[in-house]
């Protein structure tokens, strides 16, 4: 028994070591030294094809497993589009093809530095995607910065990352402070009488940044924040804080933090029959599982989203703004996404933002006509273009995303519709939302 166990541990370790040996040559075929250490000529038929490796630590297990899975599918879709449909990035007589190399970081910070270094040195990654979440993004940044490899954040929303003075950290998604602002703009526009805003959110770094931004914006709009309270991670019961909030009789409620607590928030507001004119919850309603879990109770609930199916970003929209279009159209992306995720899966914005990060690299390589880190980083400063995910433009100083706009989605008749801003909307906002009693009767939040 003991020997068998010892043996099996050894075998696993050996297998691990061997597999490591076996895959190494694959990842670094016939390196060309010195000037272009990262260019790795692939098979013969097209001699000028060069593989560009983009390294990505993804959270495939642990607390960000859901987002990580979506990111992976999004990344795969973008990779396939660039290589097969777009035919690679053509620069001079070279064609750059993208290869995404990824590892599971388990959503844990101490795995990040070693995986990032492995991606840079052993897999010769030319560029990096940052891991999901602000914390993990920060954990890998020193290594990326040390090697001077661009490190693109597709899930680290915190504004604070970009206040630290990193040169190689760039952001593709809108920063945390912008998450709830569009919703407040919408309320202000639709209903001048709505004055009282309640904020109820998770006590964590991300949500605090979101609601600090929301509070500032609400005061700028002349709204009154009547309730501003947090709950700790993984709450099992929100009734005390919700009944306290109900006593303030708010017109609109904004709140949330992550998946489970967002569902809980909506569920318990329904149970306590706390009726307000509009609700916007972070993160949770953006996934189909929100509606599956809550049923018609989810009707009318809104959420900020980095992107949503149906977002009106198209080559035409780009032309109107006078900027370039790059990447697959939305339909193409959906088709590619399903090839990897399965036909029954719909992408969430986590998939789209990861795909957009890959596309932004391709666009920047095209513009820089090089895959040199500094050249690409410089090219990014002048880049202003649109993908299916939206506009992409960074602040040259900090690398923070300033071009991209968030949308507001709302569950209407079992479907997620974009309701704000009007230029991207696929449906009119349903306002005020049906009461919980009406929803119990089967009323849907579908505008005529």
């Amino acid at each position: 028994m003991r020997w068998i166990l010892l043996l099996s541990i050894l075998v696993v370790a050996l297998f691990a070591g061997c597999a490591q040996q076996a895959e190494k040559p694959k990842a670094t075929p016939a390196e060309t030294p010195a000037e272009t250490p990262a260019q790795t000529p692939a098979e013969k038929p097209k001699p000028e094809v060069v593989t560009v490796v983009i390294g990505a630590p993804l959270s495939l297990s642990g607390k960000y497993a859901k987002e990580g899975q979506m990111s992976l599918w999004g990344v795969k879709a973008a990779e396939k589009w660039i290589n097969e449909i777009y035919g690679g990035i053509k620069v001079g007589n070279k064609v750059y093809k993208i290869e995404v190399k990824y590892y599971d970081d388990e959503s844990k910070k101490e795995n990040i530095p070693s995986l990032v270094e492995r991606l840079i040195t052993s897999d010769k990654a030319n560029f990096l995607l940052a891991p999901y979440s602000s914390g993990l993004t920060l954990a890998g940044a020193p290594i990326a910065d040390k090697y001077g490899v661009i490190y693109m954040s597709h899930g680290g929303a915190s504004d604070r990352i970009f206040e630290q003075g990193y040169q190689y950290v760039v952001q593709t998604l809108s920063p945390a402070s912008k998450y709830q602002t569009a919703f407040l703009d919408m309320v202000k526009e639709l209903d001048p009488d709505a004055k009282k805003v309640a904020m109820i959110y998770e006590d964590n770094e991300f949500a605090k940044a979101v609601f600090a931004g929301a509070r500032e914006h609400a005061e700028k709009l002349g709204l009154e924040v009547v309730f501003d309270k947090t709950y700790p991670k993984n709450p099992t019961d929100l009734t005390p804080i919700l009944s306290e909030m109900a006593a303030k009789e708010p017109d609109v409620v904004i709140g949330g933090g992550h998946f489970a607590d967002g569902q809980l928030l909506a569920q318990q507001m329904a149970e306590l029959k706390i009726n307000v004119k509009a609700i916007s919850i972070l993160v949770a309603p953006a996934l189909p599982s929100f509606y599956e879990a809550l049923g018609t109770k989810a009707e009318g609930i809104a959420a900020p989203a980095q992107w949503e199916i149906g977002a009106a970003y198209s080559p035409d929209a780009a032309k109107e703004l006078g900027i370039d279009w790059f990447g697959p159209t939305q339909d193409e992306f959906l088709k590619l996404f399903k090839q990897f995720a399965g036909s029954d899966k719909q992408p969430s914005y986590h998939a789209a933002e990861a795909a957009a990060a890959i596309l932004a690299y391709a666009k920047a390589i095209e513009k820089a006509e090089s895959i040199d880190s500094d050249a690409v980083r410089n090219a990014m400063n002048d880049l202003d273009f649109m993908t299916f995910f939206g506009r992409w433009k960074i602040d040259p100083e900090t690398g923070k995303q300033i071009g991209h706009d968030m949308v507001v989605i709302q569950w209407q008749g079992g479907e997620k519709k974009i309701i704000w801003p009007p230029s991207a909307a696929t449906s009119k906002p349903y306002y005020p939302i049906p009461t919980w009693e009406e929803k119990d009767q089967g009323k849907l939040a579908v505008p005529e």
Binding site: A13, A16, Q20, E110, N111, L138, K146, D203, P232
Partner: protein, 325 residues
């Protein structure tokens, strides 16, 4: 002394591999974190047999110590002196907590002690978040502060090299401390306590004194590990990331896998665990825990004395005896 030789050889091999093979420094640093964590925890868990489930709180406080020093002193022009100040603060904070916990919780035994320490860890975390202590749930990000003190190059060097070397040194120091303790009066006293605490007391051993000494020593090293492996390396501290009991469990696994109370145990355990984890995440992304978990259970059931403990039995009486300690 030959046991120490084996230890030094393993450390030297790690160091050489990390420094000479390109791209291996971070993986080696990753292993070193686990080795150091195991060494530090072994001083308490291995030698006394007390299971401190809230051990991670010492690492967390250490990481806060460094972060607070960086965050509050970076404008004073103290420059590089902030680094030792941070380490000192980290050690001080974790020692203070260990004194407080030791004074009260060490009176409990077995499962009661384990649960009490969980309470300390969780309680502390929610105190920080709830009372908005040290930035509350938003934590402290010191990247900017580090770059202002040391400049970009040096700040990166600290995060990607100095921090790892520090962890290396702490691990070594903890191992040597273990060696010294094992061969001193304290070691024999602790062994007696581990076997039968009441009997040890009756024999006139000052049980409380030795337990607390081991506890404080262990916490001291934990604080230093937190300050370097977390704060200096990751450049941020979020309470939700540092008070995670998973780290305690990892530390227990390492100590137990290697062999509790042995000198070489944490090194062997840390390297084995780290390698398994690292290569599984590389080869089978997403499935490593599914493989590690049953392995963990199997080890507990079949090798309760750990790899080193098992080998120690096997080589007893042979000429290798002295090398395995």
């Amino acid at each position: 002394m030959r046991g120490v030789h084996t230890l030094l050889i393993i450390y030297a091999i790690l160091l050489i591999v990390g420094l000479t093979v390109p791209g291996m420094w971070q993986p080696v640093a990753f292993l070193m974190f686990y080795v150091a964590l195991g060494q530090a925890f072994n001083i308490f868990l291995g030698l006394t047999g007390y299971v401190d489930f809230g051990y991670v709180a010492f690492l967390a406080l250490g990481s806060y110590g460094m972060a607070i020093a960086m965050d509050s002193l970076y404008q004073t022009g103290l420059g590089a002196a902030i680094l030792p100040i941070g380490l000192l603060l980290a050690a001080l904070m974790s020692i203070m907590l260990s004194l407080a916990v030791g004074a009260v919780a060490l009176r409990l035994r077995g499962a009661y002690f384990a649960i009490a320490t969980i309470g300390v860890n969780e309680g502390f975390r929610y105190l920080i978040e709830g009372a908005r202590l040290w930035g509350g749930s938003e934590g402290i990000i010191i990247t900017g502060a580090m770059r202002k003190i040391f400049g970009r190059e040096m700040a990166n060097f600290i995060s990607t090299m100095v921090a790892d070397v520090l962890v290396f040194g702490i691990g070594l120091l903890a191992a040597l401390t273990t060696y010294v303790i094992i061969h001193k009066r304290m070691g024999y006293a602790l062994m007696a306590i581990r076997e039968d605490e009441d009997a040890a007391r009756v024999m006139g051993i000052n049980v409380t004194k030795y337990k607390i000494m081991a506890f404080i020593t262990s916490a001291f090293f934990a604080g230093l590990i937190g300050a370097s492996a977390w704060t200096l390396k990751m450049t941020y501290v979020f309470p939700s990331d540092v008070f995670l009991i998973t780290y305690t469990v990892e530390a227990i696994v390492i100590v137990m896998l290697g062999g509790a109370g042995t000198l070489l145990g944490p090194v062997v355990g840390g390297i084995t665990y780290g390698l398994l984890k690292y290569y599984l995440s590389v080869i089978l992304p997403g499935f490593q825990l599914l493989i590690l978990a049953p392995l963990l259970v199997a080890i507990v059931v079949a090798f309760p004395e750990g790899i080193v403990g098992y080998l120690k039995e096997r080589v007893r009486g042979t000429r290798f005896e002295g090398y395995i300690l």
